[in-house]
Symmetry: C2
Subunit: 384 residues, 2 copies
Amino acid sequence: MNNEDILLMMPGPVPVTPRILRAMSKPMINHRGAEFSEIYDDCREILADIFKTDNDIFVISGSGSAAMEAAVGCTIKSDDKVVAIENGKFGERFKLLANIYGDVVPLEFEWGDSIYLDMVEEKLAEGAKAVTLVHNETSTGILNPAEEIGKLARKYDALFIMDGVTSIGGDDVRVDEWGVDIAVVGSQKCIGAPPGLSMISVSERAFEAMEDIEKIPYYLDLKAYRKSANKEKTQTPYTPAIPLFYALQESLHIVMEEGMEARINRHKTGAEAVRAAVNTMGIQMFPNLDSCSGYSNTVSAMRAPAGVSGDDIKKDMLKRGIVIAGGQGRLSGKIFRIGSMGNITSRDILVTIQELETVLHKRGVVSNIGPGIEAANNVLDALL
Amino acid sequence: MNNEDILLMMPGPVPVTPRILRAMSKPMINHRGAEFSEIYDDCREILADIFKTDNDIFVISGSGSAAMEAAVGCTIKSDDKVVAIENGKFGERFKLLANIYGDVVPLEFEWGDSIYLDMVEEKLAEGAKAVTLVHNETSTGILNPAEEIGKLARKYDALFIMDGVTSIGGDDVRVDEWGVDIAVVGSQKCIGAPPGLSMISVSERAFEAMEDIEKIPYYLDLKAYRKSANKEKTQTPYTPAIPLFYALQESLHIVMEEGMEARINRHKTGAEAVRAAVNTMGIQMFPNLDSCSGYSNTVSAMRAPAGVSGDDIKKDMLKRGIVIAGGQGRLSGKIFRIGSMGNITSRDILVTIQELETVLHKRGVVSNIGPGIEAANNVLDALL
C-alpha cells in the first residue's frame, strides 16, 4: 500500500496535513538572520498561549526525550532528590533520566494504574528538589492529576517538572495556574507537526535552581537557550532544524485558527468516541482509574480481547492501511492503542473504528459490524 | 528580496536543491516500521562510504554540536584527561564540551594559526584518554592535519575524536585509514541537506571506552543508538525527525550519483577559485598556514580589507541577495567568509565573486570589475 493511503492513528507521529508539509519546502535561510528570528518569535508567542504561561519558552531541535533531559539535566545535580512518579513507560523514562543526574526517589505504580496522591505527598514530605510527572501517559492512556501534583510540589517547595508530550496542544494544560516549573511537549503529537522538535517552558524558579548546577549538558543547556532567545535577534544556541521550524510555525497557525477551546473539545470528543465504540464492542479499556485520574483525551489504550494479541490487531489494521499502536515494553501484546491527536478528523476516527470492528468481527470477537460505528458516531455528532 | 532569490554562500546551512526539498513533503510514517528502517539502513550504508569506515554509523536528530557532545559525553568521565586542540571557534566549542565531562588539557593556538604537531605530541606524551580535533575549522577556514593527529593518537593510545562537520562529504576524509575513533558531520554542510541531523561514526575502541562510563547522557547515548540500530528492524532510540531523514536520504543519493571523487574535486576547485579571485583583488586570506595545514576546501576566510569591516561586506552582499558570513566571536568584523560547500555550483561561485568584486569596487577597495571574475573562471574551467 502506498504511504499516501496510510492513516496514522498512533500516538505520534501523527499525520501531517499537506499545508504543513508544503511549508517545509521553502528554501533554507540564514539561521542567524532576521527572518529566522521572526519565525522563532512567532512560534514562542503562540506556544505561550497554548501552554498558558508567561514563562520563557524555547524550541529544541531534538525529540521530546531531549527536552525531558534538558529539564532534569539543567536543574538536578547528583545529590538532589527527585521524586519520579511512574505509572507507565514514559514515567519510567523520566525516572531513568533523573537517575543520570540526581538521586531518584522512585514512586512506582502498576503501569495502567492511577497515581495515589497520598503516596506522592508522603515522598515529597521527606524533602525533594523536584518531582517529575508524565501528564498524559501515552503508554497506558491515562491522564494523570497534574494540577494536584502541582499543589503538592508547591506545598513542599519542590520543582514541578512535567512531561506534557502528548497533552499540550490537545488537552487542557495550564502551566502557570498549576505551577508547572518545566513543561515539555513534542512537535509530532497534539500540535500536529512532524517529529524532530520539542518545546519547553521554564519558570524563574527553575532558572534559579540552575545557578546551583556546576555541569549542565551542552546541547540541552536551557540557560544557553535563554541567552540566545534574549539576543537582539532571537536565536537558538545551536543550528536549528530550519524546515521543522517552518512546519511548526504553520502547525501553530492551524492550532490558533481552530482555537484551543475548540481543539481541546475535538480531542476530548474524539477519544470519547473511541471509548464508546470499543465499549460497545465489549473491549475493555486498559486504565484502572481512581477519582482524580482520567482517560487520556489523546490516546486510548484497550486490553486485547481474550485469545487475540494486541499485536495481531495492530497487524490486521495495518493490512487495511491504518497504523495503530501495540503495547510498549512489559505491555507488549497485552494492549492496543489508538491515537486521536493532532489534526485527526472525525472521519479519521470513524474509518478507524469501522476497520477495527471489521477486524474484530473476522477474528470472532464481535458478532456484528455496525454497533461500534454507531456508538462512535453518536459521540462525534456533537462536533457537527 | 524574496527568499527564493537569495543565494546562501555561508558555511552552512547550504542551499537545498528542490529535489531534496520535495523529498520532505512525503507523508509521515511509523518510525518503528519497516519503511523507516530501510531509509535508515540506506543512509547508514552510504554514510559508511563517505566516511570511508567500517565502524558503526548513527544519525542523531540534533545539530553537529549534539553529535560532538555524544562523542565526549559517552567516552569521557570526570578524571579523564582530554587534549582539546583549539585554533578556532569550533575547537573552542569542543574544549568547552570536553570540560563538562572530563579533565581538559587545553592546547590553544591563535585562531587562524596552524596547529603545531610537536606541541600536540608533547601533551599526548603526558598521557590522555582522548584528543579532540576540528578537521576543518569553519571559523577560520583552516584544514587541520587530521591524518597526523590520528598517528599521534595511536602512538600514545588516546581516542581520536574528530569534528568533521564541514569536511566530511566535501573533502577527503578517511576515518579508518586515519584511525578516527569518533567522527562527526552535520547534515547542512557538505552533504547538502537541511540542518537538524548529525551523523557519527564510532569505533570498537570508542565503544570499549564507554564501558567505563557510569553516567552517559540519555538523548546522546551512543550505546543506545547501537542497540537500536542492531534490532531486527533498524531503529533510532528516540523518535527521529522523519522529514529530515527523507531529505538526508535524497541528499546522500545525490552525493553517490556525483561520486565522492568528483565531489571532492568540485569542492577543492570551488574554494581554489574563491582564493584565486580574492588574491587577484588584493584581499588576504586569513589563515596563517604551516606546511602540514591547508586552506579549507569548503569555506574561505578572508581578512577584511583596510578601512572596511567584514560585516560591512556581509551587509553589502546581503543587499545584493547573497548571504556570506562574517567572523565569529573574537573574529567579528575582522574577517569575512564564503562557503562553497554542498551542492554549490560553479555558477553560484562566479556570481558571488562578481558581486563581491562589485561591492569592493563601490567601497574603493578594487579599481576595476573583472579581474576577480576572470581569475575565478580560470580555475573553475577545470570543472567543464
